[in-house]
Symmetry: D2
């Protein structure tokens, strides 16, 4: 184990990664570089710097990645109307490849030969971190303490912390936060404890970002969303950067009780797990993006995207953001968004995101003179439909004729 | 045109199909058989019998198809979590193949050589009726008056009606119902008129089956849904037949403002059209079915279904219910439902269908001892994950190594 | 019919299109522009000019499109390893969109408002011509004489020709060429007559471009094929332009009895038809392209391409080359070819195209040190495979456990 | 390691599995049951019994699985026209699930708690054996000696053999067979040694089952193949059992130099490897099955199968035969074969399998009266094609109109 010289640790400043920091120093006798990212999780990052210093860490990275996260990861994913298993908006999955990338960038900058993270051996995040790391730096050594050490129970972890002078907050001593959580600008997630029984309803006080629909305002709120090339560029007429868009949508969604989700999903490592998610802004974005595509995208292109979407979602869920196949699919998706320009009007009300209008000055393929019922200027000859149907039916008629003969 | 001897007409008793009835008698000089179906659209059917008699129709069919409709068409479709273009629950599409089948059955029973319907030449329904008819009786003659006659404006139609003594209700004289509507146990749809501008919000008084979320009860209501082989068999512990299930879900959904949808969709005949739909029961069923599958279905089977779903939805939307490819896909889908047994608990509140719990005594693949974070009895060895990741990363590492060499 | 002023006719100079030329002049009383393309079909084109002049045609286009055809249509298609229904290399299908494009270009240049072609109303080619034309010039008028006129039998056609002084070659009088043929640099096809019985073997003297395997040389011939970005750029070390590559491969394939195909295919218009094809160069290209991809393409990218290929093939077969969905898929395919560089060695012998070696100096992902059986420097730890298998098996083990409990 | 009581070993009687047998007895101090299968590999099996006895094995299974192998594994796979990565007919992959099943059956019969096999840690076969075993008996212990022991070089293996009195044939001492081979009724495969350089041509004397095309007879041979429900039931009019069909096709194919393949494939464990295969009978079957489907299968069903085929092939290649998703896809495939009845005539000549005719008395969907060019009895009205094209073009015309306006 002594062949590691320097390791970059994804460090939150919390108990678990502090224990990991110490454990890495002791076990591998190597230098540790800490990396703490602001992905919009809504926590102070400076305490992480102070803690790292106390452990003698010399190279401390604290990066504000919010804009890059939304612009280069969240937005591209939403261009595909991406949903995993019909429900999950991939809030955790989409942050991991960015963290993996920064870990490797920092390893390259600091001359580190290894990276480390605090994800357990039973979850998807270890896969996402490590597939990304290997794809970007194939010779990197990955240290996943949860798969190596013997601190597999919370009791052992706390004992180790106390033994090594790592401060333990009262909540951890009392059994810790009841849930395993992850947060970034796209979502906050909850797993574990009370949720381990999939038959049991989640407790109302678990949710942090959204009010319940019951407690949301009694008055609906309208919202205008403007798109350029498939990305939101303005809300209610105000141009915003990518992460500002998402922050504002989170505020609005949270206020109106939008974006809660309670589901059982299939992990890449093979088991089912129950998770609860709050994705207020993302829930609004999915609905709005489908609406703007509904008038600007060709039918067959839209269907092609729908056919590829579950595969694309699985790629992201499973940690293959940096894979050549994800990039190939992205090339197609991004190509389709060139004409996805226009606006969508939404109504937000007690958990509902309701599309009430959509249009595009430049790219609407909706042509009311063709779709309507009255006779028109001849752009569409109803008699053509007879031939269309006859030829589409031909193979079935031939088969039915044969079938009748056999009887 | 004189080669038709007897034609079976899908007859609602309304103005349009009454004009068609008369027009068929005059134009084709043939006998007309009328067929009126109760699909749960919530209209009296006996008036259709009286009207048909007045036109001298001798063979009048009025069938209660509600159970067959839900059991053999709606339920099989929901086994696939079927949604067209990400939003539409196919309420109109799924009724057409049953009507086509009955038209052909009646043609065979009465010795008719033709069928006729009131769908226009610009919509999907003509395709759905006729593909079904041709697939079931390849030599049948199809008469689609809207594609043949010169009554293409409402004015001409009304003039024809008055001229031939067909009673015209006041609403028609005043410009008629503002929307083109279709209803059955699964949904009611609205098209045309005020909706032809996709930028404009639908008017509140258009909606008929649901209250608005704003007017829904302030108290949430819980609902227990029980599944056997992927179909709902009981609500709140009470066993019901298929159509009773849907009727009750419609009642509950309508009461809680659930299932409104406003979208622009791509028609099979090539144009975009804007439609509004109320699908209260269907909206509940989709959510509940995904939930029961989430604990009973294998991951890869679920993903296979998700990959095939858009294609299956297009088959139904485009009118290919009676095609061999739809039947082949159905074979696969039905096979996957054998273990989809258990229950789902839902909370209905002001437009929201919220899954709060799910379980299966006999078929739950959820195993909390494997998914949880604490050390366990060895069913899952966290160290295995390292190898899993390493091998999944191998191809990307080889490629990255090559890439590095090239630099 | 008098609203057409000028029509561009795809004119071969043969009997059928000469009759069409005359018929257009008579029926539509419009000016006709002829367009004759050299796609490598191996016929003299100047006689077409002389014939057109005799009909009084003033604007005569005769274009050598061979390079554009192979470079911009054939090669892009082969990047996807495109095969329709497992067998057909789409030799006819891929030429049609180029002809459609030139018809429209010429219509725009000459101010014509219509185009016309000699494809029948039962085949795929009418669809391919017209979908392309409509996509490129949505207001164009299309005249398809075979769907309009009453010359539907060969006897009537010959009578019309004689009546209008159109020279009829002896072969036509004797019943004409026994087959309906189409040729270009990619292939020659045969349909009709003796082939209408799918049980009957094609006659040896039908084939024109290839010797039979039996008559091919007794000595095999080796061939080195060099790729850049998925396209062949050199044969046996000699750099060639796209169409020169294909011409040379046709020569070699034809000499060695390569590329004959006899099949029943499903036409887009709904019926099955039996066709025979000679595609000597294309048959070699398909085999070689798969071989170069086998060492340069990532596994999952290759599988993604394989999954999309049948759809892409159908798009081309059905005439959707100029559709947005074909272009979207092409964007993905072309992106995947950036690293498809290297060479393939083939052995040609009596109908066989045998890959005997392949390599890439710059882009080979084949790493013999990893794949081999002896212990190596640690790039691959065999123990990792245990974890890989265990986690991939987990969901099936959980299901089997449940199944055992149920028994 | 002492917790294993009895292990069933897939035992060939060769050097490697003999070393494993001894190693298992020594290392695990457990009883070993040997299982040797006749899959048509063409080797004497009784010597394996004698060898096992010498090691003190008490429970020795030697099973003739040829019929089961072809009937329940090979034939179902060929119903899907299954090819991995465009070329490989999965000869090794399809045998593994049967061996896994028998290992588990025997474990259940003999009360064994573990199984073992001789597949290395770098290949696909370990995955196939073990995924099958885990799916069928989730609690089984799997011992994969090549991933555990330190005999990773051939020298160490030979030393172990001599040390423990295991007879080593002369060929092994001299460096052994130059190739790693696997054989069964479907194919024989070669890997390793001279093939590790993908640029180098395989040596002629490597091939064992087929003559080279050059040495095949100068006269072609015709062969009639008869299908029922997608499976071959007779050759040249003689009804045969499944394995007899394949044996006879191997004889014919081998005689005519048919079925050699040299390729680089992507292993599931992540690396590329070069393999050579002889699959004479399978090569004939693939061609013939496509031919019989070409006249009996509906177009869209055939295309659905083509779309699913690469996924189905990967499932088998990767070892998921016993997975629920493979079984679900098989349900669909088998359903499609009900009408695949008829015959195909083939011509075999020097490496070529040429389809020359095909027909079906009961299920041919080929209708020459519709496909032909002359005017006919009205089953197909050419004018219908105009409407068919117009409606299919509509969305592209609307888009082009918009595009023109933007210019």
């Amino acid at each position: 184990m002594s062949d590691v010289k320097k390791v970059v640790l994804a460090y939150s400043g919390g108990l678990d990664t502090s224990v990991i920091l110490k454990w890495l120093q002791d076990t591998y006798q190597c230098e540790v570089v800490t990396f703490t990212a602001d992905l919009g999780q809504g926590e102070e990052l400076e305490p992480a710097r102070e803690k790292a210093k106390k452990f003698g860490v010399k190279e401390i990275y604290i990066d504000d990645l919010r804009e890059e996260f939304v612009r280069d990861f969240v937005f591209p994913m939403f261009r595909a109307n991406t949903v995993y298993e019909g429900e999950y908006l991939l809030g955790t999955s989409i942050a991991r490849p960015l963290i993996a990338k920064r870990l490797i960038d920092i390893a390259n900058e600091t001359g580190a030969d290894a990276i480390s993270h605090g994800a357990t051996g039973k979850g998807n995040d270890q896969v996402r971190f490590e597939l990304g790391a290997y794809a970007l730096k194939p010779g990197v050594k990955v240290i996943a303490p949860w798969r190596e050490w013997d601190l597999l129970s919370r009791e052992k972890l706390l004992a180790y912390a106390e033994q090594h002078g790592i401060p333990v907050e009262m909540k951890h001593k009392q059994g810790g936060s009841p849930y395993s959580m992850d947060a970034n600008l796209l979502h906050i997630s909850y797993e574990g404890r009370h949720l381990e029984n999939p038959a049991a309803e989640a407790e109302e006080d678990m949710w942090r970002w959204t009010v319940s629909p019951e407690k949301a305002p009694d008055a609906a709120e309208y919202l205008d969303v403007e798109y350029e090339r498939g990305d939101i560029v303005a809300l209610n007429g105000k141009r915003l950067k990518a992460h500002e868009v998402l922050a504002e949508l989170n505020r609005l969604g949270g206020k109106h009780g939008i974006g809660r989700l309670d589901l059982v999903e299939n992990r890449y490592v093979g088991m089912k797990s129950r998770g609860c998610y709050e994705t207020p802004g993302g829930t609004i974005m999915l609905k709005a993006h489908r609406a703007i595509e509904s008038i600007t995208l060709d039918r067959e292109v839209a269907h092609l995207k729908d056919d590829l979407m579950p595969r694309y979602a699985s790629l992201i869920y499973n940690g293959y953001w940096w894979s050549p196949e994800r990039i190939a699919v992205q090339t197609l998706i991004d190509h389709t968004q060139l004409n996805v320009n226009g606006w969508v009007r939404l109504k937000l009300y007690k958990g509902n995101v309701i599309v009430v209008g959509r249009d595009s000055k430049t790219d609407s393929l909706f042509d009311s003179t063709i779709a309507t019922f009255e006779d028109d200027a001849g752009a569409y000859d109803q008699k053509d439909a007879g031939g269309f149907i006859k030829l589409n039916a031909l193979r079935m008629r031939i088969a039915a004729n044969l079938h009748n003969k056999k009887k």
